[in-house]
């Protein structure tokens, strides 16, 4: 199958799913109270997108997302690089990293709430906490992925530390780092959403939770579609960037 055929096939699949979403509830095969037809959802979505309350929520969530990201990424990169370069710090962090991913980080939410309350800082703090471990792990992996031979070649040609950093480390690490950025963005998004859904007065996560509790299904689905679209678009943008920078990778 050629690329074009594949894309067409996927579009066909999408059309099928969306079509089913429209038809099945309207025909009564699926309960329209539980699953409103796609048309209704989109209509509601259009309405919601106009509402200032919604805009405010988007701004709040967006701000939390950005702030958390801009803390977690540089900090995580620094720590990650240090774990590889500095044995002592590596000793401290490696065991933690080992277990972090199998433990539900959301169990620490109550702690954050106890310390920060239910405001902006708490959500940023939690999202940062959520994200930083992936960044650390990826940064460490990125540093380790720089081939020793490449470094040796640079040193044998008399490159200074700064030159080795910029001409060998950075280009070598780029693809891994970009992928790390993408993955940590996903983690960050999830962290913000969980915090908002759990205990918050503002933000999209809280709106969705609210709509769910009140069985306002069309609104709930609109929110979900909105968030899903944003997530996928961001993801694809970074993926495209990754692809452009990774042409040399096997």
């Amino acid at each position: 199958m050629t690329r074009l055929q594949l894309i067409l096939a996927r579009l066909a699949l999408l059309a099928l799913v969306l079509g089913a979403w429209e038809v099945l509830p309207r025909a009564g095969i699926l309960n329209p109270a539980l699953l409103p037809p796609l048309g209704d959802v989109l209509h509601t979505l259009a309405g919601i997108l106009m509402r200032p309350a919604f805009h405010e929520a988007v701004l709040v969530s967006g701000a939390e997302f950005l702030v958390a990201y801009s803390i977690a990424v540089p900090l995580g990169l620094a720590i990650g690089v240090l774990t590889v370069e500095n044995d002592y710090i590596g000793e401290i962090f490696r065991p933690i990293l080992f277990y972090v991913f199998s433990v539900p980080k959301s169990i620490f939410l109550p702690m954050f709430i106890l310390v920060f309350g239910i405001g902006f800082q708490q959500k940023v703090a939690y999202a940062t906490f959520s994200t930083i471990f992936v960044v650390i792990m990826s940064a460490a992996a990125a540093v380790e992925s720089v081939k020793a031979e490449h470094l040796l070649v640079a040193r044998s040609y008399g490159a200074t530390r700064a030159q080795i950093l910029t001409r060998v480390y950075v280009p070598s690490m780029m693809p891994v780092l970009l992928e790390a950025l993408r993955i940590s963005m996903i983690f960050n998004f999830t962290g913000v959403m969980i915090a908002e859904m759990y205990a918050s007065r503002t933000g999209i996560g809280q709106m969705i939770e609210n709509w769910g509790e009140n069985f306002q299904m069309p609104q709930l689905f609109s929110g979900v579609i909105f968030l899903a679209t944003v997530a996928i678009v961001l993801n694809e943008i970074i993926r495209a960037l990754e692809a452009k920078c990774s042409t040399w990778r096997t």
């Binding site: 106890l114 990826s138 983690f187 998004f189 969980i194 859904m197 759990y198 939770e209």
Partner: protein, 259 residues
């Protein structure tokens, strides 16, 4: 070593007044409270375990099977895999209110949610893992006169075991996370529910007792899974197609938990 230090800090810092007891009750208090109310905690753990068990069936059972099929059949793989990995970017938690609206706040919604939560990463990981089975194995088997059923049973299945084990470990970890998150959000039972309900009355020792139980549970599960994986090392080393420039970490990263 670090472990002991952490435990020590947990005890000392609150007692010394360096951290308010509201934020971090001393370890001893937490353990006392846990022991006092052990029946309650035990019941809650049972509910959670029950939910995790069923959710694992969905996530691991479904994820591994479908991952094997999608990963193994080239057409399906090319068609669907990119779609699924794009979907991975969406935080699945936002779907939870839909599950509670549809299935109520009982165990069903959590089992289904956690099942779906674990499904995608397990499926992606299995689909990727299936492809690392060396195709030379099948060629060698054919040259020795193996029939198709023999190829499946004697070659493909044993060769796929490491991938399946990874899928089980991943799926287990993710379903635990999914169940705990959903219990914390909207629930009437389970250990996550205890965390939330005690938090709202600012009863820190009880909150931390529940947190501790969850920590212990997930670490134990992870340790068990890794133990099993280590025992099957004969499968794991040779026989995987060495990809030039393969980065094991980065391949695992997309399949870890975001919550």
């Amino acid at each position: 070593m670090i472990f002991v230090a952490v435990l020590a800090l947990w005890e000392i810092l609150p007692r010394a007044g360096l951290i308010a007891e509201l934020f971090l009750p001393p370890l001893s208090k937490t353990l006392t409270v846990l022991f006092q109310d052990r029946m309650q905690y035990a019941m809650a753990m049972l509910v959670t375990l029950y939910e995790v068990g069923f959710a694992m069936l969905i996530a691991c059972g479904g994820g591994i099977l479908i991952g094997a099929v999608v990963g193994g059949i080239t057409l399906l793989r090319k068609l669907l895999l990119p779609v699924f990995s794009s979907l991975y970017a969406v935080p699945i938690v936002i779907l939870y209110p839909i599950f509670t609206a549809w299935f109520g706040i009982g165990s069903e919604s959590k089992i289904l949610f956690a099942g779906v939560y674990g499904f995608f990463p397990v499926m992606l990981s299995t689909a990727a893992g299936i492809r690392t089975i060396d195709e030379q194995f099948l060629l060698a088997a054919r040259s020795m006169g193996a029939t198709v059923p023999q190829q499946i049973v004697r070659v493909i299945i044993p060769a796929a075991i490491p991938t399946v084990l990874t899928g089980l470990r991943l799926g287990g970890a993710l379903t635990i996370i999914g169940v705990v998150v959903s219990e914390m959000l909207t629930s009437a039972a389970g250990i996550g529910y205890l965390v939330t309900s005690y938090r709202t009355v600012l009863d820190s020792p009880h909150v931390f007792a529940a947190v501790l139980m969850i920590l212990v549970f997930s670490i134990l599960f992870d340790a068990l899974a890794r133990f099993v994986e280590r025992r099957t090392i004969v499968w794991q080393t040779a026989g995987r197609r060495e990809r030039a420039g393969s980065r094991p970490d980065a391949r695992v990263a997309p399949a870890v938990a975001a919550a």
